[in-house]
Symmetry: C2
Subunit: 385 residues, 2 copies
């Protein structure tokens, strides 16, 4: 982790795969493409004439919300400033410049999933999203691994769409870190057929932090848990915990134990939490044995270390999670094009992280974990094996 | 971390200070010792004749709760099986046997703090607790560092009791990981005079995980967040997150930055989370700079690494947090006499953790961090410097 500017190695471009990126679909994708009877149920917003508030309509419900103030507008604008944020061909230019080869691409419209009440309307929207991601992202380049969306209102629908998208070439399925209120939580038995279907279809379960359901009707705002002094920093930090919880809910009830080929990716939440969680869960599993059900065939640590992958952007400790804590499934991620990510300073970040680090560790984090999770994705010629 | 039974070094007794232990005060301590006008407000329970439910009375309120079933009774009994759990003299015998020298001792009655509504009644109860801890714990041995209790209903009362207990020789003040509902959260300005008083009095802020307020009137049960498959393991694991949050709330609004001599101990939540949180908060602080207020004079990582201490029991990765992540404030803790802790297998745990680890790292974790936080506590003669 030597200084970037003084080290000779810093002039060499480091190529990395990314376990975390985002695509901005067209705002009107759903309204323009679902069957006519569902079009009016798709989310849309009508601004007040004074431009300070808007009314949002989704699935027959409406709510009012304040439009972003100047600082928030700058913040949102900065997160969409990359030319390739909504265009796959321009995206490849950005990626080449940054030194990013293949990437896992999360949808942006997926955040509306928790606001639907009508399973048929949501199913229609999601089908449109996945067909569009296939033709406008995946078909543009094999480097772009779009995550499939599935309904959070019906596990049966989710299984059907998982299987359909797997047959279309999707490699992973995006799940929010917590299901919406009326859907069983991930530790409950209702999800077992979904986990079985994902294992069968070799679809990676891709959680992305910051995707807990938000009850916008009740005035909740995405990303706001804390208010008052330090609120923005508290809110940013808080998002990681639901990623830990989603993982816990697949370990504790035995889902990952029953399906040893099922793999989980937690994107953007950092990576050093996995060794921590592994020790903590293993302590609880052993010390609270008289209360713990079900029993597992492996320790939580063995399960987490072999089946859970985690992506980070800047975290210096992610290297030592591999080298000193034995957790091999650390994956770098750019979070392109978002502001929490490395767009505009990817090479600086990668050199800060890896200059002075042994080649095998660098290779594991920049490419190896990604390639183990998504075997067969072509590598950049200069990538470390 | 060699096997315990085969290593020659395993026959040497490892002595360690503990950043985490518990004392069971007499159930009727408060009722028997507060002024008569408050006695009936102190918590007490009346069992139903059939022994399956009880009615609990506290501060003029009442609620019904189910008595523990057989497994829960076994679980609770196991956590109180150590002869010294409620007797300081017997405790020293247990500690000598286990190889524990000095320890931070948390109160058990403190959990009722969030159930009071009457500030005077709570103040009376807390005064009794602290006077009792002074005479029955601290005065029995300088090895027993009882944590002071303070009111969570009035920050003014809390400051007065902090100052009184500091003058009595207490070295740390126990705070629950989250204040009760009607008290401002720790990131708010109302707490600033308390932080200033603690820094002035050299009192360590000692958070203990598992101490979020529980609304027993609303039927909430301590330690139960999840139900269903894997619930017990999920509930155990969950407790750690509120410790992270309590710490975040002292970093983000600048409390620790303004008081560089103020120190925080988070007990029983593990230690490897601190390097993780440090990277995450530093990423948020930098990447979300346009939203973050207040600005800090040091990075969150610098603040956490210098002012926050964390205790763990069994976590193997705690060693590498020191050696490979540069986080020096890792402290071992026994959690005596609880079931999550090492009572009955302390030497086995310490040898599993430290056999093969360099002496300086072992010394830092078993004694050095503790002695930095509580300077002047006498050491066992064989303790590593």
């Amino acid at each position: 982790m030597a200084s970037v500017t003084t080290s000779q190695t810093s002039t060499i471009k480091i190529w990395a795969n990314s376990g975390d990126s985002h695509f901005l679909e067209p705002d009107d994708l759903w309204r323009n493409n679902v069957a006519k009877r569902y079009a009016d149920l798709m989310p849309y917003a009508v601004k007040d004439p004074d431009g300070r508030w808007e009314t949002v309509h989704v699935d027959g419900q409406s709510f009012r919300r304040k439009l972003p103030g100047q600082t928030q507008q700058e913040f949102l604008g900065a997160s969409q400033r990359a030319p390739g944020s909504n265009d796959s061909r321009l995206r490849l230019v950005d990626l080449d410049h940054e030194g990013i080869w293949a990437e896992v691409v999360f949808p942006s419209l997926g955040l509306w999933n928790a606001s639907f009440r009508n399973p048929e309307a949501l199913r229609a929207a999601i089908t449109v999203s996945n067909d569009w991601a296939k033709s406008e992202i995946m078909d543009i380049s094999p480097r772009l691994l779009a995550t499939a969306q599935v309904s959070m209102l019906s596990i049966t629908d989710a299984i059907a769409e998982l299987q359909r998208t797997a047959s279309m070439g999707f490699r992973s399925v995006f799940l929010p870190t917590t299901p919406p209120a009326h859907t069983p939580d991930y530790n409950h038995d209702e999800w077992e057929p979904f986990w079985a279907a994902a294992a069968e279809a070799k679809m990676v379960i891709a959680f992305h932090i910051g995707t807990d359901p938000v009850d916008m009707m009740a005035g909740e705002v995405i990303g706001i848990t804390y208010r008052g002094p330090g609120g923005a920093l508290l809110n940013y930090t808080e998002t990681t915990f639901s990623g830990h919880r989603a993982t816990m809910k697949m370990v504790a009830p035995g889902a990952l134990d029953r399906h040893p080929n099922l793999k989980v990716l937690v994107s953007e939440g950092g990576a050093t939490w996995v060794p921590f969680l592994a020790d903590r869960m293993t302590e609880g599993y052993r010390q609270h044995a008289m209360m713990v059900r079900p029993k597992l065939s492996r320790t939580p640590k063995e399960i987490l270390y072999s089946q859970v992958f985690a992506s980070f952007q800047h975290d210096e400790t992610a290297i030592a999670a591999v080298t000193a804590m034995g957790y091999q499934n650390v994956m770098w991620g750019s979070d392109y094009p978002h502001l929490e990510g490395t767009y505009g300073h990817t090479q600086e970040t990668l050199h800060h992280l890896f200059d002075g680090v042994d080649a095998a560790t660098q290779a594991r984090i920049t490419t190896g974990s990604f390639n183990e999770l998504f075997p067969g994705v072509e590598q950049h010629p200069t990538m470390l094996a």
